[in-house]
Amino acid sequence: MSSPLSAAFLRGCAASLPFVLVIGPFGTLFGVVATSAGMTVFETMAFSVVVIAGAAQFAAVQLMQDGAPLAVVIFTAAAVNLRMAMYSASLAPHLGPAKLWQRALISYLLVDQSYVAAITEFTRHPGRPVAEKVAYFFGTVSLVVPLWYLSTWGGAAFGKAIPSDLALDFAVPIAFLAMIAPVLRTPAHYAAALVSVGGTLALWWMPYSSGLLVASAAAMAVGALVETLMEKRA
């Protein structure tokens, strides 16, 4: 690796450091929650390695515990990951010229943290060579993703030892609320969240937790609409 590339890789690592603090506890919590829901350590690890998307994984576990059918679990958890398409679109102008295997690997490793770190850097220095941007991106995941695997394993191995009378069922709602609350900033965010909550509760009579999907679609539209209205007024 020539030195501009290793420098870019190291800068990517450095940019990901603040996220390391968050990933460890989340991975551990996922390991604990998945095994206490009845998954084996191997199944829990496979889930974290194949999917690498904390929010979707927590969502899937919650829905399985709610007794939702297979298709609803897959669709709803995938819906949580729709934002990944947006990440992919916004990175494409920067990383699109990279080799196919690199883009495939980048896609597998494209998580919230690596996206935020990479797009911030690429927007600041749009003219850097593609090879450096690729190296930077790999730097942003080099700590975060292995830590996600490792902390899932730690939580899964440890989770077996936790007494089942602790109110662990509530770890998932708390983890989700803690992901969402810090990014509740604009009126559009609040509107989307309110429609999501109100809609899901009002549609709870719908079979197989399908009301959540309907309410989510409405909440997306409302969020985007409120943002558009606010922009026009400004």
Partner: protein, 117 residues
């Protein structure tokens, strides 16, 4: 936890593995969509805007029934869980910090029953 209490999808192995593989494939497909296949063609701003609201649109609705009607209490609203949820949100909004938010929620969830005896 005895096997008969397991959620069906976790107990029935082919369903669990179908879920893991399908969710992995769908997630990879979303991540690879533009980087791999569509290329650097710009998306209409409205589409990007809709996609950006997905976490905010899905997650609160996913959590709401578990907060109001927790399965662990047989679906009866539980003051401790409600207080923990409110505290998690308030701490998150005020501190803008996920870990502080979790800490506040967990403190109420496990601390409040001790205080109440």
């Amino acid at each position: 936890m005895s096997p008969d209490q397991l959620p069906e999808i976790i107990a029935v192995k082919w369903k669990l593995w179908t879920m893991i593989v399908a969710l992995g494939a769908a997630t990879f497909g979303l991540r690879f969509s533009f980087l791999g296949v569509i290329g650097a063609r710009p998306l209409p701003p409205m589409v990007l805007r809709l996609l950006r609201y997905t976490p905010m649109a899905v997650i609160p609705g996913l959590v709401a029934p578990a907060v109001l009607w927790p399965a662990a209490t047989g679906g009866e609203p539980d003051p401790v869980r409600l207080a923990a949820a409110v505290m998690t949100v308030m701490a998150g909004v005020i501190t803008r910090n996920t870990l502080a938010s979790i800490g506040a929620g967990v403190a109420v969830l496990f601390g409040l029953p001790l205080l109440l005896g």
